[in-house]
């Protein structure tokens, strides 16, 4: 028999005998399934959140904030500054003037559906071009708010995450009633977590004179440098410009980093635990088969095919466990609707957990690694068994 067919025969032989050791094999597989399940589950939160904080399409939407501010909440832009920004070079123009929207960004207390407790829901006051600046805002139910009236439209994410935002209902904010007249989609998941109204109505309600940010659409993504330089060299302005994509990515770093650190840390420790389980399983599989292996060696099987066959067995158990864990995590977590407070913006972002193919592949690599390491040392021991003493062993 040549080397390859030796490996093949032995591996098949090992796999066929797994049912005899099913207790140990199941324990090892479940251990690895647990690791993969936790890893995929926790990281799907980070993936989902990151996806909610991403805009698709060209990078031609720019946010202008006060120079020292990192978030819209802490920023401030005066009326005069907003006018100067809208008239800067590089800003696209529509039929009614520059595509720039000076906006107000505040938060209101609304009960979260899942907990029934108040949460910080973002409320945005936009100007006429607000939707056109972002390009892909669509009303999917009801209608747009009418300027000058106490009317709001709510993002699709906000409508599902928070109570009382159905079209036709009214919410009480800042001592007046606001009617929900429509639901919109578009922008990013973060945008869809917001409630929108007319900036001019929101200003007096929140006792604000100015704005907090200006959203502009550029003539093209390449116009960004021109636009930014025009703002920074203008002595009347103390502002900074950042593309919406970069701004959202920056806003999501803290939370995704945090979840990833915890997820990988916890899964890493668990993997260690599962590794010990796998090692135990494989060592005892070898121990109970000492005589059998020695017989095989005496029959002429080489020691490297025996090592490989043990490795393959361990790998097979690990991959099976990993597949079970990944499937369970996918069924349990993918698309799970949640909302959390983004630490950086201090407001709620509605998102859904995302078990991405990338995550599943990473999880299977973890499972394979545990299986290989867990099988390696027992396999080496099996390969090194001295034939004569092993045969004599009872």
């Amino acid at each position: 028999m040549n080397w390859l067919s030796q490996v093949w025969t032995l591996t098949l032989f090992n796999l066929r005998t797994i049912p005899e050791r099913k207790g140990a094999a199941i324990a090892a597989a479940v251990g690895i399934a647990g690791v993969v399940g936790v890893l995929v589950g926790v990281l799907s939160i980070a993936e989902g959140f990151r996806a909610a904080m991403r805009v698709t399409g060209p990078k031609d939407v720019v946010i202008v904030l006060r120079k020292s501010a990192d978030t819209e909440m802490t920023s401030g832009i005066t009326r005069e500054e907003a006018r100067l920004i809208a008239d800067s070079p590089g800003v696209a123009r529509g039929p009614e003037g520059p595509l720039a929207s000076a906006e107000l960004f505040v938060m209101v207390n609304l009960p979260k559906r899942s907990t029934g407790k108040d949460a910080n829901v973002p409320l945005r006051g936009v100007e006429g071009p607000g939707a056109a600046v972002r390009g892909d805002i669509r009303i999917v139910e009801g209608r747009m708010f009418e300027p000058g009236r106490n009317e709001v439209i709510v993002g699709a994410g906000a409508a599902t995450a928070f109570a009382g935002l159905e079209v036709g209902r009214t919410i009480r904010v800042a001592q007046s009633d606001w009617q929900v007249v429509g639901v919109f989609t578009g922008g990013s998941g973060a945008t869809e977590s917001e409630i929108w109204t007319d900036a001019a109505v929101l200003q007096p309600a929140f006792k604000r004179e100015g704005f907090q940010s200006v959203y502009v659409k550029l003539e093209s993504p390449e116009a960004f440098d021109t636009f930014r330089d025009a703002l920074t060299t203008n002595p009347q302005l103390k502002v900074k410009a950042i593309t919406q994509a970069d701004f959202l990515a920056e806003q999501s770093t803290m939370l995704t980093m945090f979840i990833q650190t915890i997820g990988i840390g916890v899964a890493g420790l668990m993997a260690l635990g599962a590794l010990f389980g796998a090692l135990n399983t494989m060592y005892s599989a070898i121990a109970t088969r000492t005589r059998e292996i020695a017989t095989l060696r005496a029959l002429g099987f080489g020691s490297s095919p025996i090592v490989l066959s043990v490795l393959f067995e361990s790998l097979a158990i690990a991959l099976l466990g990993g597949a079970v864990g990944a499937t369970a995590a996918y069924l349990a977590f993918d698309g799970f609707q949640a909302s959390t407070m983004n630490f950086q913006s201090f407001t709620q972002v509605a998102f859904s957990f995302a078990v991405t193919p990338k995550l599943l592949i990473a999880a299977m690599i973890w499972a394979a690694a545990i299986g290989l390491i867990g099988g390696l040392f027992p396999a080496l021991r099996a390969g090194r068994l001295p034939i004569s003493t092993a045969l004599r062993e009872v």
Binding site: G23, A24, I26, A27, A28, V30, G31, G34, V35, G37, V38, G41, V42, R66, S68, A69, D70, M73, T74, S75, G76, V106, M107, V108, N109, K112, T115, K117, D118, A119, N120, V173, A174, Q175, F206, K207, M254, F258, T261, I262, V266, L269, M270, L272, G273, A274, F276, G277, L279, N280, T281, Y283, S284, A338, T340, M341, F343, F346, Q348, V394
Partner: protein
Amino acid sequence: MKFLFLIWGNLLRKKLRTSLTLLSVFVAFLLFGILCIIYEAFNVGVTMAGADRLIVTHKTSLIMSLPVNYEQRIQRIPGVVDVTHWTWFNGIYQDEPKNFFGSFPVVPEAFFAMHPEYVLPQDQKEAWLRTRTGAIVGDALVQRFGWKIGDRIPLTSPIYPREGGDVWEFEIVGIYSGARPNTDTSGFFFRYDYFDEARAYGKGLVGWYMVRVDHPDNAAQVAAAIDAEFANSPYETKTEPEAAFAQGFVSQMGNIGTILMGVLGAVFFTILLVAGNTMAQSVRERTAELGTLKAIGFTNERVLALVLAESCALACLGGLAGLAAAWLVAQAGSPVPSMLPVFHLPPQYLAIGAGLTVVLGLVTGILPALQAMRLQIAVALRREG
């Protein structure tokens, strides 16, 4: 007791297997400890909240300010013992948002009257009262940035620029510590009078009020009275117990408790299986031996106890070592001070963990132990290992 050597001998028989099982139990309890630390870090606001303290915020949301003269009006409400205000300053150190920490202008004397959990030496307190631009900082913050008394700390605030300039400069005049190990000492406090005079906007407005009531039983009633006092004014209020406020804050992040419990459940289930399987296996291998023990007069109960003691010893040894390691992790301090300023493993979690090690030992041992107990001597002796 005299069978201790027997248990010990059994554990040492397969050293590799015993140490692998020990390690997996160790890892499980280390993980348990760390998850407890994280849970505690998120909920510290709730556990540390004063039962007799209320927090008064603007009804619409926390970011809206309240007039400073509400202080006198709240003070006049029956049942109110003390009142003071805080404001969110959002100070940024060295222009680097990563250096984030909480910074607040407060009124020094009222602040200490309201918050006995912050402890400042008397002479430093006096220095703060003398120094208009003085600030006090917590232990944790001092550790993080290596500050000392006398240092000048420049902060910028995107919300409150200073009149005629951007940078606020503060002098550290005191370092406070926490009255309890889980007090948050990551805050930066400075004087409201200096802040109000120098800020470019928002003069006369503060963030929220803290109120102490004469008795926790009156808290709900006083809260209602405060909200009624300001109903239909331009600044309506929302008053709630400090613990409820903190709880609300935690629940905004989503259900952290459930997620942690889910992870813990998965971990324990996994370890239970791994350890339980190993235990069962080592008992199976010793069938003949256990038969011998019974033949020489060991009772069923004694054999049961012997096997259980072995599994419990394994679980406790590994588990307690894991908890000790988690405790060491807590001592090392938070790896993410800007997010989890309090990093502490309270003794009650250690006690729960210790209890869990025994439970784990019993659960993993019970099946093999019962098997061993029910062995029939003749059958066991006839079987070859």
